[in-house]
Symmetry: C2
Subunit: 402 residues, 2 copies
């Protein structure tokens, strides 16, 4: 491991519970480290990475391969230190670090991604990543709205800087300053800043800001409508994505994430949200949670509940990503869900970082599974790899042409 | 609909929230009706049903077809009335109904299942159902331990009577008198009664007695160990099955059930529970929640966490049922999960009651999917239909021979 390579996640790793969850208030810092990069299975070659030319947008044979789901999980240690100071100051706000107290150089940012996300983009042949702050790090259950506001701003600004350093590799999606019990309208200003000033094309929306205690109204409640109105106005979608679990029963990436996806889908199924917002769009990550596997159950429940067919009720507004880490799962996804509702994603460097001993390739190299799926023709692959992302992220094409 | 056919679920249907959940305290009664039978799509012929001979155990060509997951969801109205009286008396225990105040005749019991479960067994060619009280009706979040104790006893006694009326069609599994915040050791007496006195072969274990608020320790916590010791001693497994959702964000059958399954699996994955209890067995219903669809994620997480391979870590103790309501889902399940870990089940009459317009057959006629799965040979089908159930439910073969 080169000395210059920041590995804050490993160094800052705090006490971990048996379930893989972390207890607040230390939990938030810990949560940031849940997905900390481990390169044990795939050695980093920073020199080679730094020497390679960034791949041009549009360069790939047959079009772009747009990964719609990547988080900045290789943050420099300084970010963890800033967050720790912020959390430690929750009882005494005057001690909280200023936003401009975070000092991370461009070189440190480059080092943090060159041997990780950028190397993997090159190795796997993906063109660009729609990139947002670490999901488990959002920690909307930590502190109050002012804590979330400062933390979101700091986190989003780093994403912005990476999109400036690598405009062909990263397009920004923002963390929202949600906070348990606080109305989502409080997120509008940061969403506007990120979209209008930083060129971001979407946001991550946490259906459970309480961190595993599920205290907020369903995503279909009017509680969320002011934010949805702004999303529609700005023409940006949201990826529905929980953050860390502060509830020890839920492992973050193995249970809480997947449960959040499944829960959101069923909320949409039982509501008329998309009658109120016909152009509102959500991406449900991790392959839609349990939904495609239980597609018959959901079709049947909709029918029993006298709802319209799912294709009519939801599939103009709800999309699934491809973060499903084995061939059989992707084969099911691509068989039962229309190709136009599937967006390519890997969530690298993310929840699962190892090599699958059954294939010899990384679990999260989902591009391989899409390429090998027997259900897809060339046009459907192209939709999944590129054109669906352009359609769902309404500002993406303009951003790429800029 | 014949006049004699009790349809208490429909008549007693209380106010339903948009999400399909029900608010306590009315919620408990409501929850009982979540899965209320609707025969709209498949007319009942009670006369024909009553006239037909019950199929002998062992009669089916090639062996038995054992449905390991059926709930008594066609209860006579008197049971709902009794429960309502019990809930209404929660503030004034002296008003609570006595257990022997429930009056349901054998004829009423027969009527409640002849046109439903028994008709479907005959039509679909299944031999017998491992049968337990309505899962969403358990309502462990309602009242205190004494309320749960009486309600469990009443509910289990009805199952017992059905197993006596139809010994070739029903084998009992019990509801446990769990209660939010109460140690699970309080369930031991009722488990012993049901197994030793009533001939039951297993129990349903609710990982979230709080009804969607997830307040109990993980299933792998020592909190549960006294109950596990008794299960091992009695040689009975548990099906991990949540009850109704009292949290409006979770639709019961569309989210809470599936989330409970996924959550339990990840708890098992991150623990050494089965080192402590090598012969303890759990069935995770609804096809294992999201788990088989994300089998690569779980294999990868186990590897990242330095856990043994899942086959070694869990698959001597954890089994999945086949309550997955479309062919593609069953094809995935049977492809990625070893056949010896799969138990046939349909949960009829349960969560999804309609006809799938894409096939012309009921969504929950899962036997058809197993028969058509391309991954299974004859031996594996036999294991899924019969021999796995005999192995997991250690008392089943003796019970069937009795």
């Amino acid at each position: 491991m080169p000395n210059g390579m920041a590995m804050p996640g490993r160094r800052a790793m705090p006490r971990r519970l048996a379930c893989g969850c972390y207890a607040p208030p230390v939990g938030m810092l810990a949560a940031m480290a849940v997905n900390a990069v481990s390169f044990g299975a795939s050695p980093v070659n920073v020199e080679a990475a730094a020497g390679a030319r960034s791949k041009s947008v549009g360069e790939g044979a047959g079009g772009l391969v747009i990964d719609c789901h990547g988080h900045y999980t290789t943050e420099p240690k300084a970010l963890f230190d800033w967050r720790k100071r912020q959390i430690d100051a929750i009882g005494s706000p005057s001690q909280a670090p200023r936003i401009d107290a975070l000092e991370i150089s461009d070189d440190q940012l480059r080092e943090s991604v060159e041997g990780a996300q950028l190397r993997l983009q090159r190795e796997r042949g993906t063109s660009l990543t729609i990139f947002s702050p670490r999901a488990s790090g959002m920690g909307h259950h930590v502190g109050d709205a002012s804590v979330s506001a400062a933390w979101s701003r700091v986190s989003n600004d780093l994403i912005f800087r990476l999109t400036q350093l690598y405009p062909k590799n990263f397009v920004g999606v923002c963390q929202l300053p949600q906070s348990t019990g606080v109305e989502p309208r409080n997120c509008i200003a940061e969403l506007e800043r990120c979209v209008n000033e930083l060129g971001f094309v979407g946001c991550n929306l946490n259906p459970d800001p309480s961190g595993g205690f599920w205290k907020e109204p369903a995503l279909t409640d009017k509680w969320w409508y002011p934010l949805y109105e702004k999303m529609v106005e700005l023409n940006v979608p949201a990826m529905v994505h929980v953050s860390a679990s502060a509830n020890s029963v839920f492992h973050a990436t193995g249970a809480h994430y997947i449960n959040g996806d499944t829960t959101a889908f069923m909320q949409f199924l039982t509501s008329d949200l998309f009658r109120d917002f016909p152009t509102l769009k959500f991406i449900i990550p991790h392959g839609g949670g349990a939904v495609p596997y239980h597609w018959g159950r959901y079709r049947g429940l909709a029918q029993d509940l006298k709802r319209p067919p799912l294709s009519e009720l939801l599939l103009n507004n709800v999309f699934f990503d491809t973060c499903v880490y084995h061939q059989a799962g992707i084969d099911l996804l691509t068989k039962v869900i229309p190709a136009r509702n599937i967006l390519f994603a890997s969530e690298m460097v993310g929840a699962v970082k190892g090599i699958d001993p059954e294939t010899g390739y990384p679990f999260d190299d989902t591009k391989r599974y899409i390429e090998q799926s027997p259900s897809l023709g060339a046009g459907e692959r192209r939709a999944i790899f590129e054109t669906n992302a352009r359609a769902v992220y309404g500002r993406l094409s303009a951003r790429l042409a800029a």
